[in-house]
């Protein structure tokens, strides 16, 4: 039996349709466009030819692309772990019985609100001039060369800046998480005579697992898409050792005449993100179930 569309539903549709149109125009349509371009050798301007799957084949053999994936994953993995460990510690500290709680929390959040690009420039100066200067003054051998000029260690420089900024957000989330643990739970464990260490692992930790999973997902996604800090700290160098996926797509896609090829790269990147997100959801979903 067909129902006549109620007025309410009509209103609902009137609201949704413009939003959907926008969404299709600026999200779905470009994505499909990008996919189409990925089958060409389009430079971005002028004439182009269809090359079928050649771009995709090239992707898996292209050293520079593979290097960028390796770097980005390495960066994201280390970043996520570092950030979450540091943030959890910070959150525990900022949630403990300390003075000036709100002031301290406020101060530690500042790195997050500052633009990644400018922070990169500031740290670039620090790494290139201040640190080596300290290395020379205090005779510390390994500090004497700018870390950003070393193909082996430049990624650590980028990591430091990324972590510096990301810890803030994750800490706030952990604090919220810690605040959801009711006092009486702690009471109970104290009555049982548990040590602080046990208290954390047996009581606190399991109760904040949802927050850990949120943070892991968020930090991983953010680190995978790193761009701003690369632009200002290293521009992908030295020796192309710090080219993130987003950076390479931008550089070669718009600047290097590889519009078609980088479109293929972008599509693969999209698939990678989807897979990682899905896997993460599955893992943390299971963990939440166990509890």
């Amino acid at each position: 039996m067909k129902k006549k569309m109620s007025n309410r539903t009509k209103t609902y549709l009137c609201i949704l349709i413009p939003a959907l149109i926008l969404f299709v125009m600026f999200n779905t349509y470009p994505m499909i466009n990008g996919l189409i371009y990925s089958f060409t050798n389009y430079k971005g301007y002028g004439k182009f030819d269809w090359v079928g799957l050649r771009n995709y084949v090239d992707l898996f053999q292209d050293e520079r692309v593979l290097k960028s994936y390796l770097f980005t994953f390495k960066y994201a993995l280390c970043g996520t772990i570092l950030v979450n460990v540091l943030s959890l510690l910070m959150a525990l500290a900022l949630n403990a019985k300390i003075r000036f709680k709100s002031a301290l929390r406020g101060i530690y959040f500042v790195p997050n609100i500052l633009g990644g690009l400018v922070i990169g420039y500031i740290f670039s100066f620090f790494f290139t001039y201040i640190l080596p200067y300290i290395g020379i003054a205090w005779n510390i051998e390994w500090l004497q060369n700018s870390i950003l000029a070393s193909p082996a260690y430049a990624w650590i420089g980028v990591l430091i800046v990324g972590v510096w900024q990301a810890v803030a957000m994750t800490t706030i989330i952990y604090i919220s998480g810690l605040q959801t643990v009711p006092e009486d739970v702690y009471e109970a464990s104290r009555v049982d005579g548990a040590s602080k260490w046990t208290e954390f692992w047996k009581v606190t930790f399991p109760l904040i697992i949802p927050f850990i999973s949120i943070n892991f997902v968020l930090t991983t996604k953010n680190f995978l898409m790193v761009f701003d800090q690369i632009m200002s700290l290293t521009n992908g160098g030295p020796a192309q050792s710090t080219e993130s996926i987003s950076f390479l797509i931008y550089r070669n896609g718009l600047d290097g005449g590889q519009f078609g090829f980088q479109s293929a790269n972008a599509f693969v990147f999209f698939l990678v993100i989807v897979i990682i997100s899905v896997v993460q959801q599955l893992i943390t979903g299971k963990k939440e179930e166990q509890l």
């Binding site: 301007y45 520079r64 060369n145 000029a149 070393s150 160098g237 020796a239 600047d255 590889q258």
Partner: protein, 423 residues
């Protein structure tokens, strides 16, 4: 509810203003507008002067010359957006080749000014065509000279002479070191600077058309570039510690402050050096790549040339502008400010800091930059930087093999076309 409507109205107004602002393009009162986008940011001041001079002497045409930062990126993005200027001022390099090949430039064979261009430079432009085309698509303006800049005062102080062979060059570096000074300075943090010594060495040691030979499968880079790569690495013994931490501007500043005696870079860097130390006594010499002085060639390419975009709607006005730019008066204005070598027939003074290369310039013993044939996405400059950083024993072979392999990969379509034409 009323406040909500007010907010919506305000927001819509803002959006409309913004859109209209972007749309207001129509030229008023019949004046033709010509826009030039120049890739030479350093020349912004003299370009402004030239622009003002033109506008004050032409009632019917209004000229606008913009010299943005990262001009090539901006140009390419504009092309992607179908937002074309009327004229572009770029170098005679791979970008020119690519844009030309994509059909972006207008044939200007009937331009008056072309008659006064030295043949050699028109030839360079011809060689830049990926596949041979009929017609002329660029007006060469100023050429650069790329060898080694040196601090004349320091040279005079110690009585040092310009080296004419590779061995003389190396022993000069060693002498400089023995005096406790730094012979060379490199700004290798900016990877493109690795190409400066590379190009200068290559013109002495390698055939000018090696790239075309490789495309036709008649040669390999592994053979041709072996000596060039080895020699460039040898130069690292004579430069400042950790050259990869310093940028192009750092190197210019250091050279200007006398922290190094020589700097292997092109004449285009002079204005940067002079901005730090205006009174510096600079001269240059041709890089002696081999031990046979007769084989020394000056590495010189077209630093600035003008091309009209294919779909420029005002061909006559554009021609007017180009002819104006090529007058002696304007050319001299540019040369005085930016230096370089004029591409125009006639007597143009050779700058003080090019004196050491004078004989080569006057005799026309010049060859274009090899890197003008390298595809941008191949990132040869980064490859060279990686090679120089590589301390392993097989660094040279790794680099050369990669060069050959990557060349084939990035030039696949071009090689296919060339080989089809041959057959």
């Amino acid at each position: 509810m009323k406040t909500f409507r007010k907010i919506m109205a305000a927001v819509l107004c803002v959006m409309m203003i913004v859109t209209l602002d972007g749309c207001a393009q129509a030229s008023e009162d019949g004046i033709t507008e010509i826009e030039i986008v120049s890739y030479k940011r350093e020349a912004i001041d003299v370009m402004d002067e030239i622009q003002d001079l033109f506008n004050s002497t032409h009632d019917d045409i209004r000229l606008k010359i913009s010299s943005p930062n990262e001009a090539m990126t901006i140009l390419k993005t504009r092309f992607i957006r179908d937002d074309y200027p009327d004229i572009v001022a770029i170098g005679g390099d791979i970008n020119y080749s690519n844009f030309l090949d994509a059909g972006l430039f207008m044939d200007i064979s009937d331009l008056q000014a072309l008659k006064e261009v030295k043949e050699g430079y028109l030839d360079i432009d011809k060689q830049l065509e990926l596949v041979s085309m009929d017609g002329v698509y660029a007006l060469p303006y100023v050429a650069n000279a790329a060898g080694v800049l040196y601090n004349k005062d320091i040279f005079n102080k110690y009585g040092w002479k310009i080296p004419n062979t590779w061995d003389e060059f190396i022993s000069l570096c060693q002498t400089i070191q023995s005096k406790g000074l730094t012979p060379l300075y490199f700004g290798y943090k900016d990877t493109w600077t690795t190409l400066a010594p590379w190009n200068a060495l290559a013109v002495d040691l390698v055939d000018a058309n090696i790239c075309a030979q490789v495309n036709k499968n008649e040669a390999t880079f592994a053979n041709a570039y072996r000596e060039v790569a080895t020699k460039q690495k040898e130069l690292l013994k004579y430069c400042q510690p950790n050259p990869y931490a310093y940028s192009y501007t750092d190197a210019a500043t250091a050279f200007a402050n006398g922290e190094a005696v020589m700097w292997p870079i092109g004449s285009y860097a002079i204005s940067q050096v002079q901005s730090v130390n205006p009174d510096m006594n600079i001269d240059s010499f041709v890089m002696p790549g081999s031990n046979d002085p007769n084989k020394n060639i000056l590495n010189s390419g077209i630093d600035v040339q003008f091309s009209i975009m294919e779909n420029c709607p005002n061909k006559e006005a554009a021609y007017e502008v180009l002819n104006f730019l090529y007058t002696d008066e304007v050319l001299n204005m540019y040369l005085e400010d930016q230096g370089g070598v004029a591409t125009k027939k006639g007597e143009f003074p050779i700058a003080e800091y090019l004196k050491g290369m004078e004989t080569y310039i006057l005799a026309g013993e010049v060859a274009d930059f090899q890197d003008h044939h390298y595809p941008t996405e191949m990132a040869v400059d980064a490859m060279i930087q990686t090679y120089l950083l590589d301390k392993k024993k097989d660094a040279l072979d790794t680099f050369l093999n990669k060069f050959d392999t990557d060349w084939i990969r990035y030039n696949r379509d071009l090689i296919a076309r060339v080989q089809k034409e041959e057959s």
